[in-house]
Symmetry: C2
Subunit: 337 residues, 2 copies
């Protein structure tokens, strides 16, 4: 690779992103500045959060500037180093972009990773990366499940959801998952050990709420929310008293020009429940602790984790859109080298 | 009064209650059962929560059965006692109904009140009753305001809201109130000491949000929500990081056939804020503590509280509707004897 291909945001998407919102451009390979390094990106994380960063809206991170490559967490090797802490060829992860080569500066988010400790370097973008930390700290620290609680997970077959359900089972919860389609529901039960799987497709809020009620006759104590909209509402209508809703993601809304939100606020009030906005970065200082526990559970067979690895920089757009069509079967990763 | 007039729910309201949903009937004065008492109701509390109890929906209390008098907190005197703890003529408060005479059974919510300690017996339905306790525990225990925080109160000129704002000032907060109309906004500033008053009438969510932003440039740390809908959203769009939203009431929604809810869930997530469903009954064991503090603040002039006392059992319906038209100028109470 003698050039640096970049997947650039050229227009802010209105609703669902279309190919014309992006441009794949070739630039010169950058040179490391004093104290910095250049990373050869090899695995790129594709996440729903990136859709939010494409909007011109205040958020927990600034919008991606138009003309810049789309921001992404990546795993790769050090291509050039002008920093004594990094040597060429060493594996690292960091917050970079969808491009072949990224410049990383001192004091940024770049850190070494030990690829001999994992089945694939991509694991640092999934179970041992933000996805795993989100499931671990979001459920345990924010949802605070107790043994015997009923846990409802939406987007349950997704990267975060499938981990949340399994961690919930390890805490002694009854675990209900909502996912799209029979195949995903089969995986929830057979692969991830959920107690009940509910297919949301082609169902009204009322029907979905009835199915959640049948599965959770004493109510939902913890709702781990990845989806928003009617799927979320079906859970909210079944909250137990003093329930905790972990608001982790709202994938059904990211491409919607009009936000649906949550119409059943009264149930939150009447059940004295709480809704907690959750951003995994708040737990950054404890990632070591979370990673160690997740790695142990994976090693002893308590946790199963799937990756959906797509290949090739030329496939970024269709790969990214798998997140919104519900096609991905595990953490979505793009392998580019 | 030789008969017992009852304001009976005969049909569940669809949207805004109409006179035909109720019937004023006359019955015989009830007799006290073994161990119970009959209360001559004199002051009746009219509250937004009663509208919720008229619906056939699960809530923190069962729906009012059709054919029963509308449930209400009242203050009155003991008319007949077959309980050694109560003597005839004694003042009591309790959860009764909109009727001249109520039967109260042992183990219920009836308790003696000391009317010599207050300006009017109706105070036990307002500042020293559920309204005062809601403001006190809702703000201090759930909202957890810190000195220097910005507090946004919706329904700010209402019974709960006007107390919340004043208690917020006593905690060292900058206090912004949203209310309907110039006269209410004037009262917020002049009578209750709010720093900023915003009139929501005839304004879009965007305009309201801009006005909140101008008043709270560092964002809203605590939002005390009594209203719901667009007024709530204008605050949510301005939450600071780690803000607390006390979900105390949703008066804009109680008569709405379709719930609006909250469309800006993303802001809750991105700011890592929390929304807390609040029901004052959860603090029943601490009402003594709250009452003592509120009474002290009122005695030393730190807190001002207004009552809107309407008169006459024949005026229940128009009096109750003042809650929803925004006409009431303080805690709404009906004096019937």
């Amino acid at each position: 690779m003698s050039t640096n291909r970049q997947f650039v945001l050229v227009r802010r998407p209105h609703g669902e992103p279309v190919p014309e919102d992006f441009s794949l451009v070739s630039k010169e390979i950058p040179q490391a500045p004093e104290g910095g390094i250049v990373v050869r990106n090899r695995y790129i994380s594709l996440d729903p959060a990136q859709r939010g960063w494409m909007d011109d809206a205040e958020s927990y991170m600034p919008p991606i500037p138009l003309g810049d490559a789309v921001r992404a967490t990546t795993v790769g090797t050090v291509h050039e180093s002008r920093n004594p802490d990094f040597v060429e060829g060493q594996w690292v992860m960091g917050l970079n972009a969808i491009e072949d080569y990224s410049v990383a500066l001192p004091g940024g988010f770049t850190m070494p990773v030990d690829i001999d400790a994992v089945a694939s370097p991509s694991n640092y973008l999934s179970a041992l990366g933000a996805v795993g930390m989100t499931a671990y700290f979001g459920l345990l620290e924010t949802g605070k499940p107790a043994e015997g609680d009923t846990l409802l997970v939406t987007g349950a077959a997704g990267a975060v959801g499938s981990l949340v359900g399994q961690i919930g089972k390890l805490q002694g919860c009854r675990v209900i998952g909502i996912a799209g389609g029979a195949e995903k529901c089969r995986r929830l039960i057979e692969d991830y050990g959920f107690d009940v799987a509910i297919d949301y497709r082609d169902k009204s809020v009322e029907t979905l709420a009835d199915e959640v009620r049948a599965a959770a006759p004493k109510g939902v104590n913890v709702q781990f929310e990845n989806v928003g909209g009617p799927v979320m509402e079906a859970g909210i209508l079944n909250l137990a008293h003093y329930a905790r809703v972990v608001l982790c993601g709202l994938i059904s809304e990211y491409n919607a020009p009009e936000r649906v939100g949550m119409r059943n606020l009264w149930q939150v009030l009447a059940t004295r429940s709480t809704i907690h906005g959750f951003i995994v970065a708040d737990y950054a200082e404890r990632f070591g602790e979370g990673g160690a526990q997740l790695a142990q559970w994976m090693a002893d067979g308590s946790l199963r984790f799937d990756e959906d690895v797509q290949e090739g920089m030329e496939n970024v757009y269709p790969a990214f859109m798998r997140l919104f069509s519900g096609k991905n079967t595990g953490k979505l990763v793009l392998k580019i080298a």
